[in-house]
Symmetry: D2
Subunit: 389 residues, 4 copies
């Protein structure tokens, strides 16, 4: 039996905030002390992670002095150095401080919009200093509780202007960041703008530097809206925009649960892992999750290890899927193509269109042919359950 022991080659990363999560929620206080960033780096290294990511405020308190910041960063770099962990991604906390109560880049208050820009530039400086190559934007409060008082068009314009400005800033500073936009449908606002990975992909094309900007799809966020996460990841990949990914778990139609990866929607998690491995995605597998509020420190460690172990188990199953002769035989049957229709595909020509319009199809005959999806899917379920060979 495999050990499912992660290595840096697996590119597993965690946010500082995921391990530091103190178990506070809308109905209750914090239940545990947060580890310090340095402690978290060591915990993650011990668990086998490749990297650690952060919001500015996870590492440096919002009211730290420059001297305090320097000291914090110095100690953090030492911990990275000691452990070998890297910082592939950084991001800005634009939602926690009360100043962001009506949003950051889309706040109706121009002072807040300007402050959000400032905070992001400073945070980009910090991330670059620590080697981050991907910069994530999650607009935690970019939305509305009522549409009575904010213009969706203005909000879109403001968000675009901010991203255009920050792209230029990145270029100007020589940071070579790729930006990754992260969508979420709601919470903590009633509705967030650009609520899905798809919406972000559409939005990117309206920017000045679309080539710098991709997406950071999050499993839980797409699930909140009941969408198929693998489909969203596939669309991003197809568009060349899968710059980062947030793996966790979530039940549909609920508050943001950020469950341990693979702990709720087993089958969906499998298809996501299978997709990433099949296409050769080589970016971070970032776990944006946290332990249950009932967890103590041992349980937090089990949570972190569990995210990675389940990924590795599912990755092994994705390989078994490719090697399983019965599965592959059904897939061959499903994808049968005798080539007779190839003449009609590919680039348009008038001749092709004319010929196709004249082609006779045995509609009933074709319709009568089913596809063995029940057979195949049952094999997949049994593969997942470890009940094949």
């Amino acid at each position: 039996m495999a050990t499912y022991q992660p290595t840096p080659e697996d590119r597993f990363t965690f946010g500082l905030w995921t391990i530091a999560n103190p178990g506070r929620d809308p109905f209750g206080d914090a239940v545990r002390n947060s580890l310090t960033p340095v402690e978290i780096v060591h915990l993650l290294a011990e668990a086998g992670a490749y990297g650690v990511n952060f919001h500015d405020a996870d590492l440096v308190p919002i009211d730290a002095t420059l001297a305090e910041q320097a000291q914090i960063v110095k100690e953090f770099k030492q911990a990275l150095n000691t452990t070998g962990l890297v910082v592939p991604m950084a991001t800005t906390n634009l939602f926690h401080a009360p100043i962001f109560r009506d949003g950051a880049f889309t706040s109706n208050d121009p002072r807040v919009r300007a402050y959000a820009l400032q905070k992001t530039m400073r945070s980009m400086d910090l991330g670059a200093d620590l080697g981050a190559k991907v910069y994530v934007f999650w607009g935690g409060r970019e939305g509305t509780d009522t549409d009575s008082g904010k213009s969706a068009l203005d909000a879109g314009k403001w968000f675009r202007e901010a991203l255009n400005f920050l792209c230029e800033y990145s270029i100007d500073q020589g940071y070579s960041y790729k930006f990754a936009l992260e969508a979420k449908p709601n919470e903590p606002r009633g509705d967030l703008y650009l609520p899905t990975t798809g919406a972000m992909l559409g939005f990117i094309e309206t920017l000045d530097h679309p080539e710098m900007v991709g997406v950071n799809p999050e499993f839980a966020h797409e699930m909140m809206a009941g969408l198929n996460f693998m489909h969203a990841v596939a669309q991003a990949w197809d568009a060349g925009k899968l710059f980062h990914i947030d793996l966790n778990d979530q039940n549909i139609g609920r508050f943001d649960q950020d469950f341990r990866f693979g702990s709720h929607n087993v089958k969906q998690a499998f298809f996501v892992v299978k997709f990433l491995e099949d296409v050769g995605y080589n970016g971070s597998r970032h776990f944006d999750a946290h332990a249950y509020r009932t967890a103590d420190l041992d349980d937090i460690k089990a949570f972190a290890r569990g995210c990675m172990r389940t990924y590795l188990i599912l990755k092994e199953k994705a390989q078994q899927f490719q090697q399983d002769q019965e599965i592959q035989s059904l897939l061959t049957q499903i994808k049968a193509d005798d080539g007779s229709m190839h003449q009609y595909f590919g680039a348009y020509s008038r001749e092709k269109a004319t010929a196709l319009k004249a082609q006779s199809f045995d509609r009933d005959g074709i319709a009568a042919k089913g596809q063995p999806y029940e057979r195949l899917d049952q094999l997949v379920i049994e593969l997942l359950l470890g009940a094949r060979e």
Copy 2:
């Protein structure tokens, strides 16, 4: 009191299928005979509609001979002529016939993909013959019940190839169509590809002729996923892609209900109407809904009139919103801008970035300022309820 009597200037349209709906559902048979296309044209004209749209199969049965088709089209044109109704939009039925049981453009069977192309070209010919300028694509079965047997990447590629081919066909035939892609998250498949208007906007940018292709957002389809429909419409408008719109109603997280416009989510319907009127959208207001299965013919007429009446009532309220001094005064307060931050917005410059990074912000002072959204929203609710003089 206003009469809320629709006129052609209101650009209200209905699909043939909406009035013809026989009340069949997964748990029961048809409960009423469908009116003929000619009867529907007359019914809609009498009710005050501007136009009528159709799927190929709504007008011409899938197995009609060319002679039968010619006769049907002739009678339909006569009815349009008599009543003055126009056909602004046409579309293809790629979901009803059993041949499409695994999708059309994304079927694993190449014969089905070829047939879908053929059927769409023929349907485009029919639509063009009747004057349609917008061609809608709703891929009713383009998705999966299990992801075990279909590749999301292949499906995306096939759908793209089909649209590229059909764009060329439209150009080649001189049809001057605009294509409008309609998203839906699920049903009748477990998950449909490109499930939201946002996903469609992202997808369009991967096509050969993105300038020809926009979206047809549908109220009910976005609501099925619990998304804010007005936000989706605003994103499409912002991108210059709002080529058509489907108005109806729906409760979140349910089967496709296609309720009478404005009959369930009153407030959300108001914000949609307000948006369309505020920005000056001048396309069709297409009602893609149907009467309850309990409806008889009189009730179907009431349904059609009700869609339009409610739109007009909400349009009047959108005007009242603009004229209401208390509302406008709150909006002025909400959007207050003393100009002091303007120096930091707009195009990037290094000087601007440097100055902004050095700017001091009174974070607590700014945070302390609330926004009167409860006051404003309560006024909006009272406006909606007719309780503001």
Copy 3:
């Protein structure tokens, strides 16, 4: 135009926690200072409320000394006295303190279960001292994030034992409380036990004193699961178990929003008000909502007034519904009953069954008769929009 000014006869109540809500959420800190209980009483009195309800910890901090508690209660009573407000309901906070991280009555830790009993008895004493007649149980953390580690049967047994014990305590102390159980489907746990009002009604029948125990249905909680709140209220009323009601608003399939009553689901709110007024419900109309996180003090006041104003507007519309001749005429048509079937209804007899089995029905003829629900519903929408005469 009516003034919609609430009076004590309207029996509008608010929880201390609703006005005191500091705007803390999972992604951000408190944004405003909470008013004191005394300040809240005065605010509510000024706004026209009838009463104020509380959790033990809303009034008396969990670590207050007895002397401190006495002083707090004294001042609170003075405020009630001054303003005329009453305390119709009290409840226990069994979710905020970290000790409840795995539930209270259903915690796996017997010490927590014992402490929850103690805390509830003390809180019942406090409520009785202030005149409360209804005692609400909302088990904020009575549920699971994973079903791996807690037995649903044990949890049900423990909850039942606790309620049985507390019923006896109430009787023994002569408190004459009625208990009202409040259901919620999820949040802050992944799944809460007894997730709907219906589940609570089923559970009550397994208690030792079902006659003492009813329900406190909450609009937002049923909406979270996408259920029809009026139907749940009707079932409770039908069973004689509508002991209290929590009015607020919520979008389906989201985190607990606790929006201002009537601010989101206008039509559903109308049917709830109509139901309560039609049946003559004479208990509290309790608003368990809070102002948006963007709200300042003026906005909190507007929020409180808005809940009551919207109720009164909808109540007026419920009266108009009864008086609207066109609506009533359609209802008469809908409910037509020529009495010919009465012979088959009511108590069973063998003769009746035999006769009914032999009765001939014109199945097609009956099926052909539709119901004018589109006509009626459109009138209701126009009534709601203030567009009828």
Copy 4:
């Protein structure tokens, strides 16, 4: 490796309608011919099922003559005899025929209500003739699309009267039926009355013969509302009301999918199987599902076998859970109870209450103790994935 071959002792049953499903849905026609009842009996027997259930109309067409019915029943009994299959459950189709377009027992039309009674009595006769002991009530159209035109109180009263009548009919005929009520939140109506298993449990207590009436919880129906199905089953079991169960699968917040059991929500299916096996439920495991619309006959067989195989695999895992020392050790830790609190539990006494009120609790100390739910849940996931030795 186990063979997972079902035997009659497993008590697996299917409805005639599940195998006969022709693949019709709201957007498309039937795609395959239905097998006859006799063919279905043989198919199920070959697959290893124990029994077959039916709606009246599944077996006997609604317009069959008595002679036709006699012939159909005779052939069906022969098939049962030949194969050894039994009929543990029967039910009435009160939703398919157009006469039920506004409901059956809750229709506003008294003729429909009377006809529904008649149809049910006749169907009960048929079921009894074939040996059914459980009689299921699923009110497919007992609900509303708008609440404008039907009284929820009247509907409840009518449904209760019908059930009271039919209980007496069963007694009078000596049928010894147990009634099992099946809830569903919506579809094909906008909202169905008594939408959850919990609501049914509450309703049962308002009947004349509550002892005869229990529930038939369905996995998919509870999932549609996003509820935890195992919790609902546990409540029913706790109340002594688990008279039948419908196993299938479903994604949350969607149309009624009736997926193959265990094919979507793997973890939730496990907890359901574990519950049924742990408590010793000895009723039918009824699969109320159907094959994908893409399925041909071979795939329908694979679907039927797959439901049973997955159940058996999960049953094996439930046994492994009980035998896994690491899992059991964590459970022992989780449920630790030193007995010190036992003095406060059980029946109320004034002394007990007094002592408990005086008991001192180390609130912070107790709160500091976490529970190893992440550790345990990860083991459960690995058990499910076949990754534990």
